[in-house]
Amino acid sequence: MRSSIADQVGYADSTTLRGDVDGHLGDQFPVVPGGEVEAPLRKPRRNSRRSLFASYAITVLALVCLNFFLPRVLPGDPISALIDSASPSYVQSEELRAELEAYYGLDRPLVAQFGDYVGDLATGDLGTSIRYNRPVAELVWERLPWTLLLITTAMILAAVMGWLAGAHSGWRRGRPVDSGLLVVFMGLRSFPGFFLASIALFIFAVQADLVPLSGAQTPFASMGALERVGDIAHHLVLPAFVMALPFAGGQYHLMRASVVTELGADHLELGRAKGLRNRRLKYRYAARNALLPVVTLAAIHFSGAVTTEAIVIETVFAYPGMGRLLFDAVPFRDYPTLQACFLVLGLVVVTGNLLADLLYRRLDPRTRT
């Protein structure tokens, strides 16, 4: 059983979907058995940098269009939310509806509305939040840095944890340590983020009282710059760690598989013959070659984290980021905020992917052709 788990996971990882709900399952998918070698496949035209930018521009355009057309195509619109008696912002009367439609310019032709919409976006106008009665752009500017801070920290933690554990596990392939770590990381990937977050909150914030229960900083406290940084880090550590755990699983499997393929490689034998220490062989020789995929996977995870994990984790920890903004907007039917969150988070994902692609070209000359 032990060796069969050990043998499988490095491989299994490529064909099974990741155990969480991130947005980029496609990137996890493997080359299908049989391979595409025999088929005269046209390569995806991603080669030149111009077409790379073009394909991202198309995605951004799709995001903007979806954001504009979805509320107009689907049943139930912001105005009917105002008229629906179940809504907290209940407004009664059809005349008012017509007035509101005129006020928001919804009685004009669709093309003109779309023009206005794009014009507003270009000037950074995302509308006014129904709940807070403030410009949504302002809210986004307040919230976005927290989300980015949280996710970046989590991704770094995940990469470091996965890298260390994976290298160790691969190095000791088939030993009890290896099987133990495999089971732990596979289990971690199956835990829903909100469940893990709730458990961690209970243990570390309530029982052990090590970290604050919620929020991103101590409110209304006056403190020096250094103290402020410490305070923010203190609030950040638990949510970032919890967010990192499932992603660390992915990094771990990747790292483990690549160290396993390195075992017995000539340069390792030579290093051993030279009398290098085990630790140096493990991390500087065997694990080093896998750094590039670790960076790529971190970038892929980043998009998954932005679209799912961030929302869930921020909700449980009451962390004042974009995810919490989105979550809080739902019961108020705060459509301008919902739409802005969708658009901004989409843009973050697209930008992250673009940066990863560019970075990857720089790191690996073979992808440049």
């Binding site: 069969s4 499988q8 491989y11 299994a12 064909t15 099974t16 979907l17 155990g19 969480d20 709900v21 947005g23 399952l25 496609g26 998918f29 080359v31 299908v32 058995p33 049989g34 595409e36 025999e38 088929a39 005269p40 995806p44 394909s55 198309i58 995605t59 799709a62 979806l66 509320p71 689907l74 049943p75 199956s190 835990f191 829903p192 983020g193 909100f194 469940f195 709730s198 458990i199 209970f202 914030a205 309530v206 229960l213 998009s303 932005v306 679209t307 799912t308 929302i311 909700t315 449980v316 989105l326 979550f327 739902v330 019961p331 459509y335 969150c341 969708f342 988070l345 989409g346 697209v350």
Partner: protein, 271 residues
């Protein structure tokens, strides 16, 4: 692995099917005092409304599996249709279809679903449709590449050379090549949709009258002072572990099926 996964998934199925017989109480009715700790009457305690947690976990299996099976079936059939036809037709249609699939993959899933579900109102049907739509892209790509890899193999070209029509080719050669991969992709997507539906429900995007694991956690975390009473253990843990177990079951099943699906691995094992 296969065995453990199969046992978990089968027991989930049995629990879901026999929910009315297994559950000691009606999951929707208040049947005891609010927030009682686990006891003989209520093995897993009651929630703030006095509903029996064990009964809710049992009925939750049903709603989780219904949503997961429905949306996976949708995702797989749409994905297979798009992927296979795009692989068979090729040319411009193929490029356009794959462009669309790429865009679907790049969309931020949860925010999109939150927006759409807020507009149309979340009920079971819309959730199945939405989740199915969100997950169709990956299978579409897989089926397309599978078709492309088989299309020009010797046995297909010779069958074509003997005058086999498109339907014949699909039935005799292409469908069998898709079969095993279909199974493993379905299992993987099932696990994902269970988790995804639970996440949406946790965020409050579900029919509020539904009994589901995600909703149980949603209302548990909304319980005031949750972390400062021992109620935490029976409000959060049962539903959370139920979701984890289901996801883990499908993950094990997927890993266990691997050798049967992937011929390359079988060869390496035999040698």
């Amino acid at each position: 692995m296969l065995f453990v996964g199969a046992v978990i998934v089968l027991s989930l199925l049995v629990v879901a099917l026999l929910a009315p017989l297994l559950a000691p109480y009606d999951p929707r009715l208040p049947v005891g005092p609010s927030l009682t700790s686990p006891s003989g009457d209520h093995p897993l305690g009651t929630n703030i409304l006095g509903q029996d947690i064990l009964s809710r976990v049992i009925w939750g299996a049903r709603s989780s599996l219904v949503v997961a099976l429905g949306s996976t079936a949708l995702a797989i059939s749409v994905g297979a249709l798009v992927g296979m036809s795009s692989g068979l037709i090729g040319g411009t249609a193929d490029s356009i279809a794959m462009r669309v699939v790429d865009i679907c993959m790049a969309l931020p899933r949860v925010p999109l679903l939150v927006l759409v579900a807020a507009l149309v109102g979340p009920n079971r049907l819309t959730l199945v449709l939405l989740i199915g739509f969100v997950f169709f892209a990956a299978p579409a790509r897989i089926f397309r590449s599978q078709i492309l890899s088989v299309r020009h193999r010797g046995f297909v070209t010779s069958a074509k050379g003997f005058g086999g029509g498109v339907l014949y080719l699909v039935r005799r050669h292409l469908a069998p090549a898709i079969g095993p991969i279909l199974m493993s992709v379905s299992v993987a997507i099932l696990g994902n949709t269970v988790l995804f539906a639970a996440t949406l429900a946790f965020l409050g995007l579900a029919d509020p009258t539904d009994v589901s694991w995600g909703l149980m956690l949603n209302s548990a975390l909304a319980t005031p002072g949750l972390y400062f009473t021992s109620a935490w253990t029976w409000l959060v843990l049962p539903a959370g572990f139920a979701i984890t177990l289901a996801v883990l079951g499908f993950a094990f099943l997927g890993v266990g099926l691997e050798p049967y699906v992937n011929p390359r691995w079988q060869r390496s094992r035999a040698s």
